[in-house]
Symmetry: C2
Subunit: 464 residues, 2 copies
C-alpha cells in the first residue's frame, strides 16, 4: 500500500505472444460472465507506469492507444497516487452521492477546477458520467433552446404536457440535429442517431430521422491538396446550408468532432469550422462541438476547437475520456431556464472529478498541452518519414498534437499491422476502415515518439 | 486520514434552518458554474455516519431519501472505509480503464462478485455507468434479439448497412418498446421515450413513437380493494395484449419497474407480473425489468422481481443506484452474437464495481436483505398507524421491505410535509404528485423506524 510508485520502463519488452497465457486464462474466466472477446490484454495496474501498460504476463507495452484515448497522465502518475495516499479523496470513500441533491462540500472545489478550463464563452458546466451522456445532454440543451425560441416567450400549454406523455409533441418530434458522415458521438439511442462511423454500431437499433451530411475529410499533405480540400469543404457547407434552409426551424443544431476520432481521423480546416459556426448562427441552430476524444490538451490546445479562432464560441462543448468525468460546457443561451430539465441521479462521479482536478493541476504545472503540440509535431514528422519508406503500405500521415494517424493500404493490412505492432510491444488501435490512430497520454515525450516509430518501422518491415 | 470511522449519531439534531447558512453560501459559489438550485444541502461527507447525513452546518439528518435511493450501506460504513484504507482499491487509483479493452486483472474478481447476485436465469452481465445507460443497453439487446428472430438466420444485407447510415432501416425504425404510465427509466433520449412519470421530464425533447399503457396501481389496503385491483390489472393486461396483437413483430419488448419508484410508488400484484411475463413470451417480445431503484435488497428480496415467483425469468434486469455501478443482467437468448454490439469506452467504473463487491459482502454477512424485509414491515405498520392518526392528511401507506411510501392529501401539502420533516431532521423526498417515499439504506434498523415515525408524526402535527 505504501510501496513506491513504479518507475517507467526504459522501453517496451514482450516475452509472450500478445495476449499471453495469463491474459488468455483470465479471458476464459471473465468470459463466463461477461463478453470478453473485445479485450486486448488484462492489465497489471500496479506494475504499469508512465507510457507503458504492463500486462498480467509481464509484457510492457508502449501504449499509444490509451484505453481509447482515455488516459491523461499515463499509468500511476505520482501526482494521482500521491493525492490518493495523502487522503485527498478520502471524503469520497464512504458513499457515492447524487450530486444534484446533497453534494459533498468538496464537490464545489472540483467544479471550480473544472470550470477553470471552460472554453471561452461557455461558462456553464453540466457534469455527467460518460461521453454519450454528455452528447445526449448537449443536444437536449439545443432542443430546449430551439423550442424556447419557437415559443417566443409563450408558456407551454396543457395540451403540450398531455401530448408529451404519449410521445406525441407536434413540432418537437420533428426537431433535428445534423451530424456528419464518419462522426462518432456515442451509443445511447439519441447519441447513436448522430453516430455515422460504422454501420454495425447502428444496425438493428431504431434511430431518429436526423439528417447526415458528408464530412470534407482533408487529403494530406495539405499544401498539395489545398484546392481539392477547399472545394470539398465548400460542397459540404453548401449541403449544410441546403439542409438548414430546407428544414428551417426544425433544425435545433449540428454536432461535429474537431477531428473524427473513430471515423478515421478525418480533419477539416479551421476556415470550414468558422463557416459552419456562422451558418448555424444565421439559422439559430446550435453549434455543438464534441470534444470527448479531442479535448484535454492532446491536440496542442486544451480544446481542439481553439485551433479555429472562432469569432463566436460554440454553443456546447462535450468532454469525457481524458477528463475521467463526462460533461458539457454550455453557453449562457443554452442553459435551461428551469431546474431539473437536464438532470439525473449521479450527475457524474465526484471521485473521478476529484482525480480530474489533480490531472488539470499536473497539466498546467508541467506544461503538458504545449508538450503535446511539440511532441506531436515530432510524431507526425516521423510518420511522414515512415510513409516515404513504405509507400506501398503507408500514406496520409496526419495529426494535430499527438492526436495523429496514418493510413494503411487496406483494412486487412491495417489489422495485420496493428497486430504486428502489438507483438513487438506497441499497444495501438485502428480508426475508420484503414487507419491506425495514435492517442498517447499527455506525458508522451520525444523518446516515446522515437520508440513508437522504431516499433512501427519494424512491424511495417515484417509485412513487406 | 487514519482517523476512526465516525460513530452514528444517536438521533437527528438540527440547529439551523435547512438549508443552513453554510449550505446557502456554498450554493451561491456552486451556482456560479453549475445549476445548484436542486441541491437540498451540502454534505459533510467525513462527519456523516450510518443513517445520518451530516450537512456542512453540522445538522445531522436521519436520511430516508438516500441520495435518491442510491446509498446501500449508509455513510462511512466501516467495511467500505476499511477496504479503502487497507489498499483493497489501490489497483484502481492510477488510471481509469476502458474495461472492454484492457481491464485490470482485479476486474475479473469484481465481475465474479457481481455475477454471484445475478437473478436466476440471467447469467450474462453487462456493466455500464448509469441506470439510463443500463436501460438503453437492455432495450438494445431486445432490439437485436427481435431482429435476429425476424431475420430467421438470414444475414443482414448490404442494403441494410447502407440504409442504417442514413438512419433509415425499413422495419427497424418501427420497432417498439412498451412502457407504463408513471414509469421512470432515465433521461437519455431512448430511455426518456420510455419514461412517463412527469411531463416536464419529456417536454421539448423528441421521442420515439413507442406506446404507453396504463399501470394498474394497486389501491391499499389490498384486502379491501382486492376486486377493484384485480379488475384494473385485467384491463391493463388486455391493453398490453391488444398492443402486442396490433403491432405484432414490431414490439421488441416491454419494460416495467417492480414498483414505480419516481411515478408515485405504484405497486401491482405478483399475479399481474406473471401474466405479463407469459403474454410477452407468447408474442416473442422481451420482458425487461427495471430494477435500478428496487434492486439490491431494499424490498426484502435481493431483486424485487423475486417476489413474483415467475415460472420463466425476465429477459433483462437493470441495476444502478445502490449497486454504485450500473448494468444489466441478460438471459442467454438476449446476449448479442457479435462482439461490440453493446459496447462503449468505459463499460462502467471498476472502482465503483469494487466498492459494490464490498457492499455485497456486507449485505450477505449481515443479512441485510432479510433485515430490510423485517424493518420494512415495521416501517409500513408504523405508517399505517400514522395515517389513522391523520386521516385527513395521510393515506395509502404501502411498501415492500423498506421501499415504502405514504400519500398526502395533495401536492402542495406533500411539499409542505416534506419540508416540515427536513426542518425537524428527517431527510426525505417526494414520489409522484403527492407521495412521500422512503428509500433508506439497508442498515436502516428498528430504532431508525421509530425515529422516522416520530419525526413524521411531529411534522404532520405541525401542519394540522
Amino acid at each position: 500500500m505504501t510501496s513506491a510508485v513504479p518507475a517507467e520502463p526504459r522501453s517496451a519488452h514482450v516475452h509472450t505472444p500478445i495476449p499471453g497465457p495469463r491474459s488468455q486464462a483470465l479471458r476464459a474466466r471473465h468470459g463466463q460472465h461477461q463478453d470478453a472477446r473485445t479485450v486486448h490484454v488484462y492489465q497489471d495496474s500496479r506494475a504499469s507506469a508512465g507510457n507503458y501498460l504492463v500486462d498480467v504476463d509481464g509484457n510492457a507495452l508502449l501504449d499509444v492507444y490509451g484505453h481509447i484515448a482515455a488516459v491523461p497522465l499515463g499509468y500511476n502518475h505520482p501526482a494521482l497516487i500521491g493525492a490518493w495516499r495523502e487522503g485527498r479523496f478520502d471524503w469520497a470513500m464512504g458513499h457515492r452521492p447524487a450530486l444534484g441533491v446533497a453534494p459533498p462540500a468538496e464537490w464545489v472545489d472540483v467544479v471550480q477546477a473544472l470550470a477553470a478550463v471552460a472554453p471561452a464563452g461557455l461558462p456553464h458546466l453540466l457534469t455527467v458520467t460518460t461521453g454519450a451522456e454528455a452528447v445526449e445532454n448537449a443536444i437536449k440543451a439545443a432542443f430546449l433552446r430551439k423550442m424556447a425560441l419557437r415559443r417566443g416567450g409563450r408558456p407551454w400549454t396543457a395540451d403540450d404536457l398531455s401530448q408529451v406523455m404519449q410521445n406525441r409533441q407536434p413540432g418537437v418530434n420533428g426537431l433535428k440535429i445534423i451530424s456528419f458522415e464518419g462522426g462518432f458521438h456515442g451509443r445511447t439511442l439519441g447519441a447513436l442517431s448522430l453516430t455515422r462511423s460504422k454501420a454495425i454500431h447502428k444496425l438493428d437499433f431504431p434511430a431518429f430521422d436526423w439528417p447526415v451530411v458528408p464530412f470534407p475529410a482533408s487529403r494530406f499533405p495539405l499544401d498539395v491538396y489545398a484546392a481539392e480540400n477547399a472545394a470539398a469543404e465548400a460542397r459540404a457547407l453548401q449541403q449544410v446550408e441546403d439542409l438548414l434552409v430546407a428544414w428551417g426551424p426544425q433544425v435545433a443544431g449540428l454536432i461535429v468532432e474537431p477531428i473524427q476520432g473513430e471515423g478515421g481521423d478525418r480533419h477539416a480546416s479551421p476556415a470550414f469550422f468558422r463557416a459552419l459556426r456562422a451558418l448555424l448562427s444565421q439559422h439559430q441552430a446550435a453549434f455543438l462541438v464534441d470534444e470527448v476524444q479531442t479535448g484535454v490538451g492532446t491536440t496542442g490546445r486544451f480544446w481542439a476547437h481553439e485551433h479555429w479562432d472562432l469569432p463566436e464560441p460554440p454553443d456546447a462543448v462535450t468532454f469525457s475520456k481524458k477528463m475521467l468525468i463526462g460533461g458539457c460546457f454550455l453557453r449562457p443561451t443554452l442553459v435551461p431556464v428551469e431546474p431539473y430539465r437536464l438532470f439525473n441521479t449521479w450527475l457524474g462521479d465526484p471521485l473521478r472529478g476529484a482525480q480530474a482536478q489533480v490531472v488539470l493541476e499536473v497539466v498546467a504545472r508541467e506544461g503538458l498541452v504545449a508538450q503535446a503540440g511539440r511532441v506531436g509535431d515530432a510524431l507526425v514528422g516521423g510518420l511522414q518519414a515512415l510513409q516515404e519508406r513504405y509507400p506501398a503500405l503507408l500514406s496520409q500521415a496526419r495529426g494535430l498534437g499527438t492526436f495523429a494517424a496514418i493510413d494503411v493500404v487496406d483494412g486487412p493490412a491495417r489489422d495485420r499491422l496493428v497486430d504486428a505492432c502489438k507483438q513487438r510491444g506497441l499497444e495501438c488501435g485502428g480508426s475508420g476502415d484503414r487507419s491506425i490512430r495514435f492517442r498517447p497520454a499527455l506525458i508522451f515525450a520525444e523518446r516515446h515518439v522515437q520508440e513508437t516509430l522504431d516499433l512501427l518501422d519494424r512491424a511495417a518491415g515484417s509485412l513487406s
